[in-house]
C-alpha cells in the first residue's frame, strides 16, 4: 500500500474548548490522515501561512484580533489557493452563508460537529477548492488559446497582405533589372532589394505555414526540405547564445502528410527546447531513416531537462511548467495530436540539468532506399513558376511513367530541394524565364550536389543568349519553348540517356 501524505489542517480558533475537542477528533479518528496545527490569533495564522504549506483551513470568524468576514478576507489574501471551512454558531448561519459567497468552501456549526462530519467537510472543501482552481485555470487557458488563435489569424492576415506587397516589390525589381545594362552601377542595389524581398517572402510563407491558415492537405514531402524551409524562422526563435545544428540524413525517405502540420511539430518542439535552454545551449535537429520503413525526427536540447513526473504529463493538454503567462500548455499536446494523426509516434527522454530529446517517428512513404541507377524511375527537378505549362506537362508525364517530379518555383527553392532530396536528381528542367538572382551560381551549386544530373533548358531567345554567353553549362540540352507533353517526354528520355 502506498504511503499518502497527511492532509495538513490549520485550525484558527481562540476558544480553547473548541480547539481541545477538535484535537481529540483528529487524534482519535484521523490519526495519520490529518496533521493538525492550531493557532489562536489571526496574526499568528498569517505568519504560519506565509511560512508553511497547508491543505485546508478551519476558521472561526470571531477572533481576538479580527471579526466577521474581514477575518476570512485576510486569510484568503494570505493563502488564496487554500480551501477554508468557516466555524460558526447555529445562530450565525446567515453569516456563514455570506462567507461561502465570498470564498469559503464550506462551514461547520459549532455544537453540531463530530469527527465524521468534520472529516467529510474537510475532504469536500479540498475537492471543491481544487475544482474551483481547475475551472479557473481552464478558463484562463481557454482565453489564452483564443488569444493564440487570434494572433494566428492576425499573423496570417498580415502575412498574406505583406506577401502581396512583396510581390509588387519583386515585380518592380525584376522590371528594373531587365532594363539595366550589365555595368549599371545601381544593379547591385536593385539585386539587393530583390534578394531581401525574396527572403521576406520566404518568411511570410513560413508564417502562413505556422499559423495553419493554409488549407490542410496531404502531400508527399521531404522532412529535410521542410526543416530547411523553416530554418530561418527556427533560428529567429532561438536566443543568440543558442547553437543550432542540423544533421539531415542524405537519403531520407519521404513522408505523406500535411506540410503545415508537420511544420508545426518542428516549430513547437524547437520552441519547447528554446524555452528549456533560455540563454545558452545547443539545439540539434536530426533526421534519419528508421529500421521499419519510418522517418525519424530527433530534436535535442541541452536545457534544464525534466523530472520523470514532468515527463509523464508533458503531452497532457494544458500541462505547463512555465506558468500561464508565458505558455499555453498546448504546444506539445498539439505535437502529440499531429504525430498521432499521421500514424506516427513520439517519445521523450530527459534528465534534469542535462536536457531533453524528443523522438518523432513517421511512416515512410515509398521506398526508404530508393534506387537511383535506373533511368525509368529517375527524379526530375523542374524550376518554373506555378503558372508555367512545363509543370502541367510534367504532371501528365508523371502519371504515365515512374519518374518522380519535384517542382520548385524559383532557384533558391530548387537548390534547397536538391539538397534535401534523399536521392540523386537525374534531370533538371529549367525554364529560362524563371527569374533568380545568382541563378548561375545556384545552378552550379545544384550541379555540384548532383554530379550525374542532366540539364534541359527550355529555350527561347533568353536561353539562347545565355548559352552564347556561357551562362548555361556545357552539355545542357536546349529544348524549344513550345512543347507538347509528348515532345517534352522525348527530350527527357534523350537527356537521361546521354548522362
Amino acid at each position: 500500500m502506498g504511503v499518502t501524505k497527511p492532509i495538513r489542517v490549520l485550525l484558527i480558533e481562540d476558544n480553547p474548548v473548541d480547539v481541545r475537542l477538535m484535537q481529540a477528533d483528529f487524534r482519535k479518528f484521523g490519526s495519520g490522515e490529518f496533521d493538525l496545527t492550531a493557532v489562536e490569533h489571526l496574526s499568528e495564522a498569517i505568519r504560519f501561512l506565509n511560512n508553511n504549506s497547508i491543505d485546508v483551513i478551519l476558521l472561526d470568524l470571531f477572533l481576538q484580533d479580527a471579526a466577521g468576514l474581514e477575518t476570512l478576507s485576510r486569510v484568503r489574501k494570505a493563502a488564496p489557493e487554500v480551501p477554508v471551512v468557516v466555524l460558526t454558531g447555529l445562530d450565525d448561519e446567515a453569516q456563514a452563508l455570506q462567507a461561502m459567497k465570498t470564498g469559503a468552501q464550506d462551514y461547520l456549526i459549532k455544537g453540531n460537529i463530530n469527527s465524521r462530519v468534520l472529516f467529510r467537510v474537510i475532504r469536500y472543501a479540498i475537492e471543491r477548492k481544487q475544482g474551483e482552481i481547475e475551472r479557473r485555470v481552464l478558463e484562463q487557458r481557454l482565453m489564452q488559446g483564443e488569444k493564440l488563435a487570434a494572433v494566428g489569424t492576425l499573423a496570417a492576415g498580415v502575412a498574406h497582405n505583406f506577401n502581396n506587397a512583396l510581390m509588387v516589390v519583386l515585380g518592380h525589381s525584376n522590371f528594373l533589372l531587365e532594363q539595366m545594362k550589365g555595368d549599371d552601377r545601381n544593379k547591385l542595389h536593385v539585386e539587393g532589394i530583390k534578394k531581401a524581398s525574396e527572403r521576406a517572402a520566404l518568411l511570410t510563407r513560413q508564417l502562413l505555414l505556422f499559423s495553419r491558415k493554409q488549407a490542410p492537405e496531404s502531400a508527399i514531402l521531404s522532412l529535410n526540405k521542410l526543416v530547411l524551409d523553416m530554418q530561418m524562422l527556427l533560428e529567429s526563435t532561438l536566443g543568440e547564445g543558442i547553437e543550432f545544428e542540423l544533421k539531415l540524413a542524405p537519403e531520407l525517405a519521404q513522408i505523406k502528410g500535411d506540410p503545415s502540420q508537420i511544420g508545426q511539430v518542428v516549430m513547437n518542439l524547437v520552441m519547447n527546447a528554446a524555452g528549456a535552454m533560455k540563454d545558452s545551449g545547443k539545439l540539434t535537429i536530426e533526421t534519419a531513416n528508421g529500421a521499419n520503413r519510418e522517418v525519424v525526427l530527433r530534436v535535442s536540447d541541452t536545457g534544464c531537462g525534466m523530472s520523470p513526473e514532468v515527463c509523464a504529463h508533458i503531452f497532457d493538454p494544458f500541462f505547463t511548467t512555465k506558468g500561464l503567462a508565458v505558455a499555453s500548455g498546448l504546444g506539445l499536446s498539439t505535437v502529440y495530436g499531429i504525430v498521432q494523426q499521421h500514424g506516427g509516434n513520439i517519445e521523450v527522454s530527459s534528465k534534469p540539468d542535462f536536457g531533453s530529446t524528443f523522438l518523432v517517428t513517421l511512416p515512410a512513404f515509398g521506398s526508404a532506399k530508393p534506387d537511383s541507377s535506373n533511368d525509368s524511375n529517375a527524379t526530375i527537378l523542374v524550376v518554373a513558376d506555378e503558372e508555367n505549362s512545363l509543370r502541367t506537362h510534367l504532371d501528365t508525364i508523371a502519371e504515365t511513367t515512374q519518374y518522380t517530379v519535384l517542382k520548385a518555383d524559383n532557384w533558391p527553392e530548387a537548390v534547397e530541394m536538391g539538397r534535401a532530396h534523399g536521392r540523386p536528381i537525374a534531370l533538371l528542367i529549367a525554364d529560362a524565364l524563371t527569374p533568380g538572382v545568382m541563378r548561375q551560381h545556384l545552378l552550379k551549386q545544384l550541379a555540384g550536389q548532383h554530379p550525374e544530373m542532366a540539364i534541359i533548358y527550355i529555350s527561347g531567345p533568353e536561353a539562347r543568349r545565355m548559352a552564347a554567353n556561357g551562362v548555361i553549362p556545357e552539355g545542357t540540352h536546349l529544348a524549344q519553348a513550345k512543347l507538347t507533353p509528348e515532345g517534352l517526354l522525348r527530350h527527357v528520355k534523350g537527356a537521361l540517356k546521354k548522362r
Binding site: 480553547p16 474548548v17 482519535k28 463530530n114
Partner: protein
Amino acid sequence: MDNVIINMQALEDRVGGDPELLAEIIQIFFDRSPDVIANMRRAIGSHDAKGLEATAHSLRGYLVNFHAERASGTALELEIKGRQNDWLQTEETFSNLQRDVELLRPRLTALLHRIESPSSWRM
C-alpha cells in the same frame, strides 16, 4: 427542562464518551469563564459595545459546546445588543446570563466528581 440547562446526551456524543476529555473541557470552562464574565461586566459598565459583543460571543462559544441551550441563548441576546449598541435592559439580560451560568456550574461540578470516581461514572 434539564436539557435546557445542559444536554447530557449531546455532550456525551460530542466527547465520544471520553471522560478524560470531558473533564478537561469542563476544567477549561471553570478556569476561563470567570474572566470572560468579568470582562463582560466591565464592557456593560462602560457601554463598550464591541467589548460586549466580543465577550458575549466568547462565552457563548463555551456554552454551545456544553449544549447549554438557555445560557447560550442569553449570551446571544447580549452579543446582539453589543453588535447593535443597544443598552436597553442590558443589565437585566446580563443578570439572566449569570443565573443561567450559575445553574450550569453545579451540573458540571457533579459531572467532574463522577468522572473522578470511575466506579460511578456514567453520563
